[in-house]
């Protein structure tokens, strides 16, 4: 039916439709706008409160006009909550994890898409399905294995209560997602590129590092940003695999800090804002990569 309409007629129908839609859209826009403001309010309120001393709020109530607005809470949070230590712990876990996930994920995707072995699809399925298992399902044996390996080498804390153990579990889990996403990207890279590399006598090693890896830059960037956010935000693994609070990353430490600084909410607000800072930077600076990373796996095909 539509195909028979002349372009001019088509435009007219659309125009008429658009006019009645315009009023409706205003209403919808206003409605969504109200919710958007409500959505931002909790963050705004926490940020605003973090700039005020708690003593002022206790004396005059939370709705009192602010007499003092400064960064005192931030300075105090950094010193009293030892936030630099926790940030360092986070970096110690996140950076090697993301690096290894991207490296091993792309190696695996490379093999699965470029060399036709019999068990390629089975491998890919194994990795993808593994990524979807609940963390709780694997925790007990991992915990026991970490302790057993520790006893074996004579250092109980080589894996348990150590960043290394947390890194390994993140890598083992998230590698599945990375492999899945990167392999679907690699399928879109023409096979001829690989073939000519092989004809030129490139070794498997050269073929991967010199030919394929540079082509993977866009999905690696997106995946890197997404993985960094996920691992930075991870709560469970650092909580169950680390017993020393001083070794925990900032996200897991926030829970204990909340109990400890319960008497000074505004200090806690500043601490939370600082803990959120790296993810907020991702939000404002790297949002394109984050969103495309999030949807890399989602919009395949």
């Amino acid at each position: 039916m539509t195909a028979t309409l002349e372009p001019v007629e088509r435009k007219l129908v659309l125009q008429k439709h658009k006019n009645s839609q315009k009023i409706k859209d205003r209403f919808i826009s206003g409605f969504i706008g109200f919710f958007a403001l409500a959505w931002l309010f909790p963050i705004f309120w926490t940020a605003y409160s973090s700039l005020r001393p708690y003593s002022e709020i206790r004396a005059n109530g939370i709705f009192s006009f602010p007499k003092v607005l400064n960064l005192d809470n931030y300075v105090q949070a950094i010193n009293r909550m030892e936030l630099p230590t926790y940030f360092f712990n986070t970096a110690l876990i996140t950076i090697p994890s993301v690096f290894l996930i991207l490296l091993l994920g792309s190696v695996m995707a490379f093999i699965v898409t470029r060399y036709s072995f019999k068990f390629n699809v089975a491998m890919l399925l194994l990795f993808t399905a593994g990524n979807l298992l609940p963390a709780q399902l694997v925790f007990i044996p991992v915990f026991k294995m970490y302790l057993a390996i520790g006893d074996l080498v004579g250092d109980r804390r080589i894996l348990y209560d150590s960043p290394l153990g947390v890194i390994l579990i993140h890598v083992a889990f998230q590698m599945g997602f990375a492999t899945f996403v990167l392999s679907s990207y690699m399928k879109t890279i023409p096979k001829e590129i690989s073939e000519s590399a092989q004809i030129d006598g490139a070794s498997v090693f050269t073929h991967f590092f010199r030919v394929m890896l540079p082509l993977l830059r866009p999905p690696l960037a997106s995946l890197g940003v997404l993985m960094t956010t996920w691992i930075y935000n991870d709560f469970f693994w650092a909580l169950v695999l680390m017993s020393t609070d001083k070794k925990r990353p900032i996200t897991s430490a926030l829970g204990r800090l909340q109990g400890e600084f319960v008497t000074d909410y505004n200090l806690l607000a500043a601490g939370a804002m600082i803990a959120a800072l790296p993810t907020l930077i991702v939000f404002f600076v790297l949002r394109k990569q984050f969103v495309s990373g999030l949807t890399l796996g989602a919009t395949k095909g």
Binding site: D25, I32, L124, L133, Q136, K144, F173, Q198, I199
Partner: protein, 304 residues
Amino acid sequence: MATMTDRPKKSVRRRSFSGRDKVTLSFFIGIPTFLHLALVWFPAFATILLSFTYWTGIRIEDIKWAGLDNYENIFFNTPIFWDALRVNVIWLFWFALIATPLGILLAYQIDREIRGHKFYQTAFYLPVVLSLAVIGVIWNFLLRPDGFVNGALGLPISESVSFFGDDRYNIWVILIIASWRHIGYIMLLYLAGLKAVDMALREAASIDGATEWQTFRKVVFPAMKPVNIIVIVITVVESLRAFDLIYIIYGGSGGLPILGVLVFQNIAGEGASMKGAAYAVILFLLSIVPIIAYLRQQFKEDVK
């Protein structure tokens, strides 16, 4: 080089790897596969087996066969399991019937580029990058006895509503907080999917006199099948495995009973026992259907 390209293409397909290549390949396959099997699949199967045993120690010799005892214990002697399951089911219904559809609706409206759509997208997307630990602190800030909401209601601290403590409100408060993040997440995923749906399809439908709802239901929604399945998986998994938010608000004990925290109490720390393994298996089985549907969709072409 020239002589090499002269070789017929067929020779490329014949796999004759040099010794060095064989070493490289076995490392390339071996390391990731070993790590993944050793730390994901082996423990997963071990947990399933362990859920049929009694074991508290490290030594393998101490494991005793328990049959279905752990499961019987959970189903018949642990009333809190049913309380927790109830909360998780309410969570699932809330997400499936309210939060997820709202996220989809938002994505649909924002995709139509209504006025202010860029700002709206930013606002709803912001909570998605925050960790649930930070989200817990932020909302505690609004809802605590001397927080914003009680203040706005004009209640003094002595008469304030305990939003997290009072059983009448706590689950709904938690669900609102969880939705605050979930809606944006779904919106982002759906928005990406909508970008891929042909605009001409929608225009054609509206010229044919279809209402907006008909266009969405009959044209857009079916075209979004891959994204729909992912949205279903995320909705089910997030509502059944919820843990972080509850843990950050209530700590490891008490508060709102929920499966994720119950598993945690039984697998970590002093309360650890193989009942925890049974809990973990139950948690796994609950979310298995949408996961299989997802895997089937993703590997449909590959298996052919």
